[in-house]
C-alpha cells in the first residue's frame, strides 16, 4: 500500500475524525476555538479504511497529522497541543496553578462521569444501572462544587463558563461528554436533579449549550440517539 493512499493536507493540519464521536469533537472544537485552518477527514467508524491503520494503529479517532508529518493521537493530547501551539488564542489559563486546577476539573469527568455513561447504557440490570447512575451523579456533584469554587477565583469571573467569561479549554474538553446526558436520559430515564447540589453544574451546562462552539459540532438529538443505540444493552 503506498502512502499516497492516505488523504492529508500537504503543509497543513489534517484531523482524522468522526462527527459523532465525543472524543473527536474535542479536537474539532479546539481547532475552531483557536481559529486554526485544518482539513477534516471523516473516518467511518463502522467501516474503517484500510489505510487508517498507518495513521493510527489503534484505529481510534481523533488523530492529527501536523504540517511536519507528526501524528498525534489521544483527544486531550491533541486539544492541549492546539492550545499550546497557538497560545494567542488564550485557550489555556496563564498560570501553572490555574492549569492544574483546570486539569483536576477535567479529571473529575474522566474518572467519575465519562465511563459511567457507557456503563449505564451497557447493562440491562436495573440495580447495576442504579449503581452506575449514583456514581455519575456523585461526579456531577463534585464538578458542581469545583465550578462554584472556580467562579470565586479571579479567572472564574463569577461564571457561567470555567474561565474568562467564555467557552474555553474546559468546555472544549467536556461539553461533548456532558451532552451524553441526553442519551442516558433518552434510553434510561436518568435525570440531573434541579437541587442546590447540582445548581452550578446546571448553570454551566445551560450556558455552554447555547454557545456557537457547542452548537456547531453538536449532532441533532435524533442522530445522536440513533448513533448510541449500539451501546444500549437490553437483554
Amino acid at each position: 500500500m503506498s502512502s499516497t493512499a492516505i488523504p492529508y493536507e500537504k503543509n497543513g493540519y489534517t484531523l482524522y475524525s468522526n462527527h459523532l464521536c465525543p472524543y473527536a469533537q474535542r479536537a474539532l472544537r479546539a481547532f475552531k476555538a483557536a481559529g486554526v485552518p485544518h482539513k477534516v477527514v471523516e473516518i467511518d467508524l463502522n467501516n474503517k479504511p484500510a489505510w487508517y491503520a498507518q495513521v493510527n494503529p489503534q484505529l481510534k479517532v481523533p488523530a492529527l497529522k501536523t504540517p511536519d508529518g507528526t501524528i498525534l493521537i489521544e483527544s486531550l493530547v491533541v486539544a492541549e497541543y492546539v492550545a499550546e501551539e497557538f497560545p494567542s488564542a488564550g485557550l489555556l489559563p496563564s498560570s501553572a496553578l490555574e492549569r492544574a486546577q483546570l486539569r483536576l476539573f477535567i479529571e473529575i469527568f474522566s474518572s467519575r462521569f465519562n465511563p459511567f455513561i457507557y456503563r449505564i447504557l451497557g447493562t440491562s440490570d436495573a440495580d447495576e444501572q442504579k449503581k452506575h447512575t449514583e456514581t455519575l451523579l456523585s461526579g456531577i456533584r463534585a464538578a458542581s462544587k469545583e465550578l462554584q469554587e472556580q467562579w470565586e477565583r479571579p479567572s472564574g469571573q463569577g461564571g457561567p463558563f470555567w474561565a474568562n467569561g467564555r467557552f474555553g479549554f474546559a468546555e472544549i474538553a467536556l461539553v461533548s461528554l456532558v451532552n451524553l446526558l441526553t442519551v442516558v436520559d433518552h434510553y434510561r430515564g436518568v435525570k440531573v436533579p434541579e437541587t442546590q447540589d447540582y445548581a452550578a453544574f446546571n448553570r454551566w451546562r445551560d450556558a455552554f449549550t447555547k454557545d456557537p462552539l457547542f452548537t456547531e459540532f453538536n449532532p441533532s438529538q435524533d442522530v445522536l440517539f440513533s448513533a448510541y443505540k449500539k451501546f444500549v444493552v437490553d437483554n
Binding site: 498525534l72 499550546e84 501553572a96
Partner: protein, 240 residues
C-alpha cells in the same frame, strides 16, 4: 523545613508555612509520582504520611475524597491528582526541564505517558485481581502488547534530536515520562512474585527493557521507591 499548624475555625491540620507539603502514602504508586517530581525538580518540600486505611480525622477537611498523593502549595491551594501535580511541578519549575518546551514534543511525551495510563498501569491491577487463569492470561497479553507499543515509541523517540539516543525519553535526563511511569514499572516485581510474569528479553521489548533498567538505577527514583518486599506485601492484599 519546619512544620507549622494553623487553625481553620476550630480545626487543625499540619502543613509547612510558605512551602510545599505532600500528603502521601509511600507504598502508593500514584503518590510516588508526586514525590519523584519534587525530587527530580530539586524543589524543597515536606511530607506528611497518611495511612490510607485509617486517615487522621483532619484529612477529610484537606481532601474530602480521602485519596493520598495530595499537594498543598505555599498559598494554600490543594491539588489532589497525581498527573495534574506532576504537570504543575514541570510548569512551575521550567529550569528543571522535566518536559520539552515545544508543543509537539510535549504532545508526544503526553501520548507516551497516556499509553501507560490506559494500556499498562491499570492492567497490572487487573492481572493481580483476576480470579481465573484465563483472565490472567488475556490481561497479560494486553500488558505485553502495551509494553511492545511503548518499545516502538521509545525507539522512535530516541532517533529524534530530543531523544538523543536514550536511555530516557529525553536522552540522558530522567524527566516527566519517567516520573509518571517509574512507580508502575516498579510494580512488575509484584507481577513476577504472584503471577510468575516477566517481560520477555526479546527484540520486541529491547527498548522497553533498556529504558526500564535505566529507570530502576536512577538516584531520584531510588529515594522514593519502597523496598521490594514491602511492595510485594502491600499488593498481596489485591491478589485473588
Amino acid at each position: 523545613m519546619d512544620n507549622n499548624e494553623i487553625t481553620i475555625g476550630d480545626s487543625v491540620y499540619p502543613y509547612t508555612k510558605d512551602g510545599f507539603t505532600v500528603y502521601c502514602s509511600p507504598l502508593c504508586p500514584f503518590d510516588q509520582r508526586v514525590l519523584c517530581a519534587f525530587k527530580v525538580a530539586g524543589v524543597p518540600h515536606s511530607t506528611v504520611r497518611i495511612n490510607i486505611q485509617n486517615p487522621p480525622w483532619w484529612y477529610g477537611l484537606l481532601n474530602p475524597p480521602l485519596t493520598t498523593g495530595v499537594l498543598r502549595t505555599p498559598d494554600g491551594t490543594v491539588l489532589n491528582e497525581s498527573m495534574a501535580i506532576v504537570e504543575y511541578v514541570a510548569d512551575s519549575f521550567p529550569s528543571a526541564n522535566l518536559m520539552p518546551s515545544d508543543a509537539i514534543g510535549r504532545a508526544q511525551l503526553r501520548m507516551f505517558v497516556e499509553l501507560f495510563n490506559s494500556r499498562f498501569n491499570p492492567i497490572i491491577y487487573t492481572i493481580l485481581t483476576a480470579s481465573t487463569v484465563e483472565r490472567q492470561k488475556s490481561q497479560t497479553q494486553l500488558l505485553l502488547s502495551g509494553a511492545q507499543s511503548a518499545s516502538i515509541e521509545l525507539e522512535k523517540q530516541w532517533q529524534r534530536p530530543s531523544g538523543g539516543g536514550g536511555p530516557f525519553w529525553q536522552g540522558d535526563r530522567f524527566g516527566f515520562a519517567e516520573i509518571a511511569v517509574a512507580p508502575f514499572l516498579n510494580l512488575l516485581v509484584v507481577l513476577k512474585h504472584y503471577r510468575g510474569m516477566e517481560i520477555p528479553r526479546t527484540e520486541e521489548y529491547a527498548a522497553f527493557n533498556h529504558w526500564r533498567s535505566a529507570v530502576s538505577k536512577d538516584p531520584s527514583f531510588a529515594e522514593v521507591r519502597p523496598a521490594d518486599d514491602d511492595v510485594i506485601a502491600a499488593f498481596g492484599k489485591l491478589v485473588i
